[in-house]
Symmetry: C2
Subunit: 399 residues, 2 copies
């Protein structure tokens, strides 16, 4: 199995940081006085520049009985994850509340361990924030094909049992027996430190930052999940919480701590992510069709369905399904969704690079890419180009 056995196997070691001359202090900030932080442990830390990277914390929906034993949130902290893993190993019937990436990936791991797993989401599809319905369907099939259960379009009202969970009650009156519940309804910025530092916070959205991740107080930056994120197309709040986005912000803040060396050319958050459930990989970059509609962006869709090796009869070939959105009048790529084999992870990044370069349909049409039978789709039907050609043809009234 291509899986880790222990939570500890996933620890990023401190050694490279320490080797780079970084001192690690574990403490809690109490308040700030100018360029000094006072900590709960009594220590005072002076700084020239301060970067806040306090991440996010789990959201909790209004469900009765959340305090029962066997009900877990997903806390990104080693001892909490060890406890959750141990409890999951002893459980048999597991309910996952929330069908986003965290819920779906937990379900995937638990199915692989032979558990009975049910995912409950109040919306009608898995990954509703990330995928259009026809792409959600691939993930739903990857869960149900392996014995997972889905309860979509319904909410949990009560967690029932004595000290320990015994069942969850749905708003449609159904009752599901279970001995473990994983709450994965989303995360919110962990921005409580904002008040202690005296920097502006957009409540519920994160620490206010400009395009260079600078907060309202000179010399103080905020990056990643704790910072307020804005969509790159409309500027609206965009609660994307991705390690890769956080890394881009961290590099930007790090480069520009003392002066703006790296001028930011792509404004706002794009959102690029991939996942693998069972044998099915999905990748997304930019806007889905549902998001474009909600935001009022006019668009044209292009699609392709091709093998990712050539010929497609090779043993490890998978079928790529791809859907691209282009601005109807600017002709720039707005977003894309891909499903297929493992190469989908890097294909999502090709879309990300294209969007950040504001590439048009015509530029993609004449793109010089490389292909190889054992590594990519055929040059005749390279998926991103094929879907672009489909979009071009749809512009002229064929859709």
């Amino acid at each position: 199995m291509n899986r880790l056995e222990k939570v500890d196997d996933d620890i990023l070691p401190d050694a490279p940081l320490e080797a780079a001359g970084i001192e690690i202090i574990i403490d809690t900030v109490v308040d700030r006085n100018g360029r000094r932080l006072r900590c709960a442990g009594g220590e005072e830390i002076r700084f020239e520049r301060l970067v806040v990277a306090t991440g996010s914390i789990p959201m909790l929906p209004p469900i009765r009985g959340l305090d029962k034993g066997g009900v877990f949130t997903v806390i990104k902290e080693i001892s909490a994850l060890r406890t959750l893993k141990q409890a999951a190993e002893q459980a048999n019937d597991i309910v996952v509340i929330g069908g986003g990436y965290v819920g779906v990936e937990f379900a995937d791991e638990l199915l692989a361990k032979g558990k009975r797993v049910t995912i409950i989401d109040r919306l009608d599809h898995l990954l509703p924030q990330a995928l259009d319905a026809e792409f959600s369907a691939f993930i739903e099939a990857a869960i149900t094909d392996r014995g997972g259960e889905l309860r979509l379009g319904t909410s949990v009202t009560d967690i029932e049992g004595g000290d320990h969970v015994e069942a969850v009650l749905l708003d449609n009156g159904q009752r599901l027996h279970c001995d473990l519940v994983i709450m994965a309804v989303g995360f919110k910025p962990n921005h409580s430190i904002g008040a202690k530092l005296g920097i502006e916070v957009s409540p519920g959205h994160g620490i206010k930052v400009d395009e260079y991740m600078r907060t309202s107080s000179p010399g103080i930056f905020a990056v990643g999940d704790c910072a307020e994120q804005h969509n790159c197309y409309t500027g609206e709040n965009w609660p994307i919480m991705l390690a890769s986005t956080a890394m881009a912000q961290g590099r930007l803040a790090g480069s520009n701590l003392y002066s703006i060396k790296v001028v930011k050319t792509f404004q706002g958050v794009l959102g690029t992510f991939s996942s693998k459930i069972g044998g099915t990989a999905v990748g997304v970059s930019g806007l889905t069709e549902a998001q474009a509609q909600r935001m009022g962006l006019d668009y044209v869709v292009g699609r392709a369905r091709v093998p990712d090796r050539h010929p497609g009869t090779l043993d490890d070939a998978s079928t790529i399904e791809i859907k691209l959105l282009f601005s109807r009048f600017c002709h720039t790529l707005l977003g894309g969704q891909i499903k297929g084999g493992d190469s989908v992870g890097e294909m999502a990044n090709i879309l990300a690079v294209m969007i950040q370069n504001e590439m048009t349909d015509m530029e993609i049409d004449t793109l010089q890419i490389g292909t190889h039978p054992l590594l990519t789709s055929s040059p005749v039907v390279y998926p991103i180009i094929s879907a672009t050609v489909d979009a071009i043809s749809n512009w002229f009234g064929n859709d």
Copy 2:
């Protein structure tokens, strides 16, 4: 084995062309009279627009004995490939003359069939046109680790034997016993039709075309290997013969047959290709360091060596080695080489998209990409970004 069993398994069927209303005529053009072609079969074909796509033919070095039985060139034609495959299956000791992609990929397939294989190239490394020496070394290891032999920096002067090949004689006096020789020293444009059509040809380089693949005669286009190719950085002749490049040219000519609908923004040939030898994939886009030196381009190098999954202890993780070249003064990406697992195929295409958008180090540094443990490198060390950060640091005197 992830291989095709029969040559016929690799045929691209005619049906989709016929379904699109395309008539296929197999004949030889004798000459042209205005917008009429006269064919050897006696047929006269009228055209409004003519697209020449006659491809390439094998080059032959000055070796004595090329006419012996058991000596094959690689002809991209089904009956020739069937004959070669049958002969190879019956052979035991096979010499491949030429260490480019065709030679190396033939050797890879033959090793997988349990043959004894020796590759001979007059240059000191395999894939000398495509890779810098340190990346050639990965391919050389992938051949020798599986029992293949290399004779580099030497040439064959004679093919010896009676009617059938029995040995090849090298210019260092060495004699290698063999019962099959595959000539893979390269291809040249098949442009003999140019004279029949009365269009300009650059002898040895191909049919002369402009940026829109238009030949010297109005209404006649040439695309792919038969057309003269120019390097995108210097405009010099650039004998790249890739299906993916040919497809880009075919789409461009097809879109613009009657008027220029798709304005070409990226001038000249980039060159993006990938290959997989044994379990090792390599991908290249743009210039190698050796090419940049020869062309006189000033550059800075960045490198990274990271796993392509995270953590790198996952079962299917491979080590990615990446080398990027940036223009020292323009800061644009000039080229990149990658070695690793199968995702290298699409990572080469990420580089291709970056180069065609003339992306700078700083734009790549702040790129928003997506990552997933089972599909990509860690967001902390995403290879293209890590190598870019290395290049930025090298700019400041650390190289």
